[in-house]
Symmetry: C2
Subunit: 239 residues, 2 copies
């Protein structure tokens, strides 16, 4: 499984993805699920992927090849909407190639993507591309999207995140959301790829890879756990 | 959807279930998903149900009728294992009756049950009856089972609950787990049926129905939310 989340806030955007993949519990490995297409000053397009790894890698391969040999491509499109359209199209192409064979073996060939960033001349945008290749866009009412194993980490996002949340707080909240997911589901695991984007910078602000033994992540996990237990202890007993 | 949780701890057991059912978003209603079979001094059997409501209600009807006209039945069995066997059997019977027709309409006829309590002469036990009618028992390593929409409310249980958790703390934790679920998923909603059992009492200790406007539940939700935000605010910013 996978867990990816992307937030679009007043200050900017935060993207995060785990790196665990598994084809059965005896074949667990690590693959990055974040891809960045950047030409500073012109565009930043971040793509997070979830689902069948052969399909998502195939989609990325198609998108990258086309930058060199086909129009339109991700480095040419003038709107992030068109970028999402290219991702959805490449997904349908991959599923058209492999879907029928995988279905014969009852292998799930579903995949989904978060596509966000900014292209110069347009506002920052964030899209959620479904497994059927169609997609929706985040609006003022919906400041975040999740794909993959999203439920364990949703409550903390729902409690904390609003459009007004500062980027640093959003990063903290995303890491706690990952902590909750990692604790409850072994199919999601570090390292966590994390990327911050400040609106209208049209270049990546920060990009880092957070390993399990990352001192900040460890401190955050410990303080959060202790803090929760502390709050819990102060709650009144049932009458 | 539904959310039910049952804990078996050193001091006793806690059972809780929500009451929301929906057949589409335009047909949302309220049904209790907790059934108690009690003869003080002899047995307490609590059954929580999740899944297709026609199936789970049918299972309960079969189990209740058999108390009057068939052996073995829930008021006769000498072990909770045999109670779980009766529940699984009744589930298979209902699915045998309705499953094929429902499958023709692509209607999910899955259902699952938590069956716990104590029969005099035996230790307290807790079982999770799967949709196929087979079941597993909670052991020392696994102090709780969840059925239904379980993921949103799992992280807090994983962080707080151990076998040693006192019953009052377990009730608090279960209510917080419901709060997280209710906030993130509209298909789970109050009132919450809550039951506490103290080991070897062989009678229900406390049973209550917690409505949305219950003062204790409201206080708990508010303090927990404020407490979480408080802890969050004290966490160090990313480097």
């Amino acid at each position: 499984m996978t867990y990816c989340v992307a937030l679009i806030l007043d200050q900017g955007m935060v993207f995060a993805s785990d790196s665990r993949t598994n084809a059965g519990v005896d074949y667990v490995s690590s693959f990055s699920k974040m891809k960045v297409f950047e030409r500073p000053g012109d565009r930043v397009i971040v793509i997070l992927s979830s689902g069948n790894l052969a399909i998502t890698q195939g989609v990325m391969e198609l998108l990258e090849r086309r930058i060199h040999d086909q129009s339109p491509n991700l480095m040419e499109v003038e709107s992030l909407y068109d970028a999402a359209l290219l991702v959805g199209g490449a997904l349908r192409e991959m599923q058209g190639r492999d879907g029928q064979v995988l279905a014969q073996y009852n292998i799930d060939y579903g995949a989904s993507f978060l596509v966000g960033g900014q292209i110069a001349g347009e506002a920052p945008r964030l899209f959620n591309v479904y497994s059927q290749g169609n997609f929706i866009e985040a609006t003022l009412d919906t400041p975040y999207f999740q794909i993959g194993e999203s439920k364990y980490g949703k409550p903390i996002l729902d409690r904390v995140i609003t459009r007004e949340t500062p980027l640093d707080d959003a990063v903290k909240c995303v890491l706690i959301s990952f902590d909750s997911t990692i604790r409850s589901n072994i199919s999601v695991g570090p390292p966590i790829d994390l990327l911050c984007y400040r609106h209208n910078a049209v270049r990546v602000d920060r990009r880092l890879r957070i390993a399990e033994d990352d001192p900040y992540f460890q401190t955050l996990r410990r303080l959060w756990s202790e803090g929760l237990r502390g709050v819990f202890a102060t709650l009144p007993a049932p009458p």
